[in-house]
Symmetry: C2
Subunit: 190 residues, 2 copies
């Protein structure tokens, strides 16, 4: 999507260690007008799928998911990150490894927030190795909910997480697909 | 505000230890249509203040702040919580103690995300002892930005944080004000 690619070219900063900083518009600072335009694109792609809920994971996904939920008119649920495997109460939980941060945590939601009748759209800012999305898919499967697909703002296609998710049979729509990235050569889009 | 009080009466759960659970519509699950209505109320209250930015703190404030930003058409910045006092780079940082969780952390934003020209509306879900808001106010003062006020979804007036913030000269608008709360007697609104 040209709108997204142009903005990444303008405001994205490539750093060593395969890092793309988009904190000025997508992350810690959220350009609400811009994201609302992107939300309309996800709505165009998924509007006929009977979405009843949008699921994301804290923290940077929450704001994006809420703005994406506006045209759909559905609630957002976010999975909390917990260090503990020792969960109490009626919770769905899935293990997530972060290659970015080198950490492990559980993604957790109360069972009351996801039902088998739900038709869930997954939203996340980045898709690289796909660990967060795998975790969210697991949570939906535990609930018996239907996954209509995933909406991702930036996919790094060279890290293959997207291919794996698609191979699981989950539709993935990414607004920008990066096929190569380096400090020296900048960003190449698919 | 009756809309908010009614929803708390309907879906809020009072638990021991002065806990009000609103996770089903305000927190981990966010009723986007409902919050968008509340956002219009904050817009009515602050629309003449020339707001240029909405500031909140992760994680539960982020989704609410983004939805509140829609009618204003301004960006959201959220302060990240960091355990470390040892910050690198050009950051504004303020110490925040959480009475709810019994923890201490730093609230941190990059200096690039808050300018002295900014007119900032602070948004948060709860105002009890006011520690989070004090931290956000400190960040604005470090940046030299103007605070036009705070928009809070639920204020516990008996914990006096709101009085302290107002005594600092900051306008605080709360959609629901709780003057007393217990498992036995339920919730009393101001």
């Amino acid at each position: 999507m040209k709108l997204m690619e142009d903005r990444i070219r303008k405001d994205g900063i490539v750093e060593d260690g395969d890092v793309l900083k988009v904190g000025m518009f997508l992350n810690q600072q959220i350009d609400v007008n811009f994201i609302s335009q992107l939300a309309e694109e996800f709505y165009r792609l998924y509007k006929d799928e009977g979405v009843t809920k949008i699921l994301t994971i804290e923290a940077s996904g929450i704001g994006l998911a809420c703005l994406c939920a506006v045209p759909f008119g559905v609630p957002v649920v976010f999975a909390k990150k917990s260090k503990s495997n020792n969960m109490s109460g009626d919770l769905y939980a899935s293990h997530v490894h972060s290659f970015t941060h080198g950490t492990d945590h559980m993604a957790v939601i109360p069972c009351t927030m996801l039902k088998k009748e739900d038709r869930v759209l997954l939203i996340d800012d980045f898709l690289a190795r796909g660990q967060a999305l795998h975790g969210l898919i697991d949570l939906c499967e535990q609930a018996g909910a239907t996954i209509v697909g995933a909406g991702v703002f930036v996919e790094k296609t060279y890290q293959l997480g997207g291919d794996e998710i698609r191979a699981r049979g989950v539709r993935v729509e990414s607004l920008a697909k990066i096929s190569a990235m380096s400090v020296a050569d900048g960003i190449t889009f698919v």
